[in-house]
Symmetry: C2
Subunit: 111 residues, 2 copies
């Protein structure tokens, strides 16, 4: 099922892993990062593992990436993350003063 064109289940699955949540939060806090920066921050995970998680996050539209020379820079796709969180809230916890702040698309989805 999708709300406002976003797949709620896929979004939650993408967030349903500790490493991926840590990556996202790192990007949220620090902005754009090279893959190597992320790998270095995770003693517990190998480079291929991080690469795999980044691929999943990218596929769900939660991060952006761009190449810069040899390196690839990842950043949080803040708009999408925001939209997905709003959609989740609208789907499961409407009527909680939410109308104050809903993004347009989620507001429409509730109607």
């Amino acid at each position: 099922m999708t709300v406002a064109g976003i797949d709620c289940v896929a979004f939650c699955r993408a967030l349903g892993d500790a490493t991926r949540q840590d990556i996202l939060q790192m990007l949220q806090k620090k902005g754009e990062l090279r893959v190597n920066d992320i790998v270095a921050a995770f003693e517990r995970s190998s480079q291929p593992t991080i690469s795999h998680h980044l691929k999943i996050l990218k596929h769900e539209g939660l991060v952006n990436s761009r190449r810069e020379g040899k390196e690839i820079l990842y950043s949080l796709n803040a708009e999408n993350v925001d939209e997905c969180c709003g959609m989740l809230w609208a789907k499961f916890a409407p009527g909680k003063l939410l109308s104050i702040r809903l993004p347009k698309s989620a507001r429409k989805a509730r109607a």
Copy 2:
């Protein structure tokens, strides 16, 4: 990792299944339901499967249950769901006019 005493990853894992999202939304829309009502609504799933999903949702505090005679009634734990969604938003998409509406605990967690 936990924010405001809630395990973000476990919450997302619980929501990372289509059947569980459907159950939650059903409870959100219709209020308290007997297990049989839920089972009846899902041609695709058996009674043990629904029971299993309800157990997971209960374990994460997303639903409440009470016995009434032979039957057991499930309902959405709206406060917790709301709090979890807010926590998610606070963790990954702060700075989006969110301060307007954050629950107390999530607001504290951002500080």
